[in-house]
Symmetry: C2
Subunit: 626 residues, 2 copies
């Protein structure tokens, strides 16, 4: 039996055909409707809310417990529990919003010296007295000091990597495809050519002077959001930015769900790879169109992401990351052709993937260490990136330690009753003194609450004694002493909750939400303490604390300290540095030297495995208290 | 109008359909019948003799002049002049024989240290205390001194290239394809693997111990003949050899005709590339079958050929080689995957192409310099390779000079009335004192005469005063004084000729043949003198003369000196070393160090362009005399 399903998204309508018993979650997914669902349809997160008109079987007890009171009556259901048994009109209500542009991280001032460069050269013409092979003619002109063009016009950066000088000694510094075309290009251009150099090797030769057309892309591949930055590599200027939700989200909010998908599904690895490369290709097209350049003018891309994201981008088997002893395939930097990645850049385009440290300290953290500059400071700094995992780096010029805590995605709004990302509609700050007020991103009607709002709300509850140090929300009698604000406590499904805003669709913090945050903040705090102990220093030796990532930027430092996420003693030394990973990727794009530093950093960082640390476990339990 | 053409080859018959006016030469070619025709159907060499039954138009004067007396009457025609205008029975008579196996050159004793090696390793198992990434685990085991397996079993060579020690410092010493498979192989094999190393980089990983299965192929790509040698790289033993006529011959006997084909024909370059790679693939299959191994056990091939052959193998544009100022695309050594060459070896197989010096001093000569060892001798040596071109190298440990003379293919039997290669049926020696005798390869009825036979015959004519020092064959009166042997002189088509064997299909040396040989020997002799002068030495400083190649091996040194091909003063220092190019390719296969030496040699050899040398022209004219 076939049924007609009408999907209503915003103001558009889409009709699909379904079989009796089809899973509505998969139908939506197959129709390209990606909902932000942490569990990826496994029936545990309760996020795939849809309003349904049409006949459906009665909800199971499990569905009832997830969807909350009153919703079912209004026609709301969870797509993952819904099986088609009639024609339906479906109105998805979950998080299918666009992500907002991620602020780029703080960029350092570095010399423009990209690994990919162009150089215009006018070659001497061949003769019986000068019978050098075509390739030798080009390579020797490139290694000579008296190159015509480039340096004089000032169009291309003058810091050609040292390696160019080695070209004439290297065996074959270019691809066979390229040298197949070489004689034709030389003849057609009258021996006036532009060389495209990658790490000092000759990647391509173009007829005439094209040295002013060379663009590159830096990409931060987050588990949730992909942020891209387009640079003019001739001038070093950023010319466009773009960002998208990571389309792999449809297979889960966290890395483990996505790795699971690659293990469980035959083509899962290829599928996740396509999703991310199409996303990157889309961002490249979008930015190129905006700036009015051709995608063929993009010669390179530099990627930074966590180890799983980088494995999925490269099509590597990530299974070893998901289970103990947590073994990645490789954490080395990888150079490959953009063609190999499925990106329609210049056909001789290349791509570089940042080096990482371990399964849970990836290229994104190495990029963040790079752009934060902590590795060259005499003082000891702490770098904290709180996302789905919480990655922590401690150290300076002499040594660097890192660990990763399975903080869970609570601070990104996942596994939180009314949680959502830091996008339009999210409550992002809450304060209670003198009055109880909250703010909403985009000044719209609140649709949920994001990480910074949750931290604020919990701090407010603690201040108002609507939460004890064990994280228990008091019952009505106990709370009465807190005064007017205590009226915001309600009982819901047999459990206590704190109402931030009321109405028919209230935004609340549940007892369960508090437990999620307790777990997450305990993990971060215990991770910091473990690194400090491992380093044999005292917290006061830390001169600077950098908060990387979107959550770090929106976080209010006072409330983060209040709930014990960050150490009180360091409160005045904390600075948010935005998308440090993106900034590091951009730095790697603009400077081959920075990429080499990143490679050294990836070997220098000592990784501390917390799952093997008794000290961490002890501190984790301690830090559960507020 | 369509006609039926029956092709009779040996004892087989093949029927094809042709249109009115079709060119019989092309019809034969398209039917896979490759005749050994120097001009490739351009109507100048007179080699594509066929006997034809059926109606044909009368022969043109040009065809008459090429095919010689009495042949036309017997039904013989030249295929390239023949246009189809009726049903025909065609009996090809030209050289469609198989080549005989080319003798391998003299191999030096070198340490077994191939660029491609295997190493069996048992890896430590990963744990929370040892979280090294899969790739790092493999690479570190390879660079450590305590490798299990390989060295102990003695199955693989112990001289792992130094570069292996650099592995752990290199960025990414292996392909993405390989690391995609790595985790699966590690798990399946219980972390007991065999690494395939290429130049110290990790090319592949195989489960279990496969270190005794590793074969490689050395190939000498001659313009006329392709010779291949299969080696067991674990033991360094040669296990099989094979050779075939170069199938590109159907587009001409010399390199210029083949380059012309790539210029004139749209897919010419691809076509010539396929012809040679299919030939190599066929030789590999043949040898692998003979030894009873799988082609997937062949991990590498090393190629040496002249610059044109190497360009055609790599699919490079060879047009620059054909005309002044004679510019190749590259003469650097090239490493590529065997897959890229279209060879179905091991799927991670590689191939190396020898470095060359210039358009006319190719990888074959560098390989010959290598295997002859002249580059490390304190004394000065002369190396002469006489083929379609005559390549000459002079020097020793301190310096090396090289030149190439357009000697023409006369010594290979081309452009000689009854000339043929040194294969069964060829007269290969002629002597006249005390009696006039000749020998035939394979002791069969003579079908023609090869280079060594021609040189002998001309020497005999000189000794008997049947040829003056200008190369003129005397008329009957003048020759009478020579006695009985003078009866071998006849007049043919208004010109004088020397009859080696009579009968209905006589083998003769014509006045034109003598001129061809005069040109060729003058070019070689003048080339030698030019190098000697360029080096500022006297002929007596040369301690050793090496004759490389098939012709060099069959040549009789006394007659070669008699006709002035080689200097009289060096007569006692001349040694034939066989297929020195093939021996050099084999050495490169067995020793990475030898390949590195070859690379240095290719840069060390100074090329002397004879077409720009007035001294060469002067000596060439002088050496025209006998």
């Amino acid at each position: 039996m076939q049924y007609t399903i009408k999907l209503h998204i915003k103001n558009t309508e889409k009709t699909i055909t379904a079989e009796e018993g089809d899973d509505l979650f998969r139908l939506l997914q197959n129709s390209g409707i990606a909902m932000n669902t942490p569990c990826a349809g496994k029936g545990t997160c309760g996020k795939c809310v849809v309003r349904v008109e049409g006949d459906l079987k009665a909800p199971s007890d499990r569905e009832k417990s997830l969807i909350g009171g009153g919703m079912l009556e209004k026609g709301y259901r969870l797509a993952c529990y819904t099986r088609v048994s009639s024609d339906l009109d479906v109105y998805p209500e979950g998080d299918i919003r666009e992500a907002s542009i991620i602020t780029a991280g703080k960029m350092r001032s570095i010399p423009l010296e990209p690994a990919v460069q162009k150089r215009f050269i006018e070659l001497e013409l061949p003769s019986l007295e000068d019978q050098r092979p075509d390739l030798e003619r080009v390579l020797e002109a490139l290694s000579s000091d008296t190159v015509t063009g480039a340096d004089e016009t000032g169009k291309v950066p003058s810091n050609i990597p040292d390696i160019v000088e080695d070209i004439s000694r290297s065996t074959m510094p270019c691809s066979l495809d390229m040298i197949k075309e070489l004689p034709g290009i030389l003849k057609a251009s009258g021996y006036k050519i532009t060389a495209v150099l990658v790490n000092g090797g000759l990647a391509a030769v173009e007829p005439g002077d094209t040295s002013d057309r060379i663009y590159g892309m830096a990409v931060d591949i987050g588990t949730t959001t992909v942020a891209a930055y387009l640079y003019d590599l001739a001038s070093g200027k950023r010319v466009s930015t773009g960002s998208m939700l990571n389309p792999q989200r449809k297979y889960g909010a966290d890395v483990i769900s996505r790795i699971d998908h690659t293990i469980r599904t035959e083509n899962g690895r290829a599928e996740l790879r396509s999703l991310i490369t199409e996303c990157i290709g889309g961002l490249a097209t979008e930015m190129a169109d905006r700036v009015g350049i051709n995608k063929a003018d993009i010669y390179t891309a530099v990627f930074a992401g966590n180890t799983t994201m980088q494995h999925l981008l490269l099509g590597l088997d990530a299974a070893g990351i998901a289970t103990a002893p947590f073994i990645p395939v490789t954490t080395r930097p990888v150079w490959l052709s953009s063609k190999e990645l499925g990106l329609s850049f210049n056909r001789y385009g290349t791509a570089a993937v940042f080096p990482g440290v371990s399964a849970y300290i990836g290229g994104d953290i190495v990029a963040s260490i790079l752009s934060s500059g902590i590795y060259e400071a005499d003082d000891i700094s702490l770098l904290v990136d709180i996302g789905t995992n919480g990655e922590i780096v401690l150290g300076g010029r002499e040594w660097l330690l890192a660990c990763s805590t399975a903080a869970g995605p609570a601070f990104e709004g996942a596994n939180i009753k009314n949680g959502m990302g830091g996008v339009a509609g999210a409550i992002d700050s809450v304060s209670h003194a003198p009055d109880f007020i909250y703010s909403v991103i985009g000044n719209t009607k609140p649709a949920g609450i994001c990480g910074s709002g949750i931290v604020d709300a919990i701090a407010a509850m603690l201040d108002a004694e609507l939460l004890d140090e064990t994280g228990r929300i008091p019952d009505a009698d106990e709370a009465a002493a807190a005064g007017e604000i205590s009226q915001r406590l309600v009982s819901l499904d047999g459990s206590r909750a704190f109402v931030i805003c009321g109405g028919p669709e209230p935004i609340i913090i549940t007892q369960r939400d508090v437990r999620e945050i307790q777990n997450a903040k305990a993990a971060i705090a215990a991770g910091i303490e473990t690194l400090i102990r491992e380093a044999g220093i005292s917290p006061d030796d830390i001169r600077k604390v950098y908060l990387a990532g979107g959550f770090g930027s929106s976080l209010h430092i006072d409330t983060a300290v209040r709930i014990g996420l960050l150490p009180k003693t360091l409160e005045n030394r904390i600075e948010a540095i935005g998308n440090a990973s993106g900034a590091g990727a951009a730095e790697g794009l603009l400077s081959a030297a920075s990429l080499r530093i990143a490679e050294n950093l990836s070997r220098k960082v000592r990784y501390i495995e917390l799952s093997a640390s008794a000290y961490f476990t002890e501190k984790y339990v301690e830090n559960m208290l507020f």
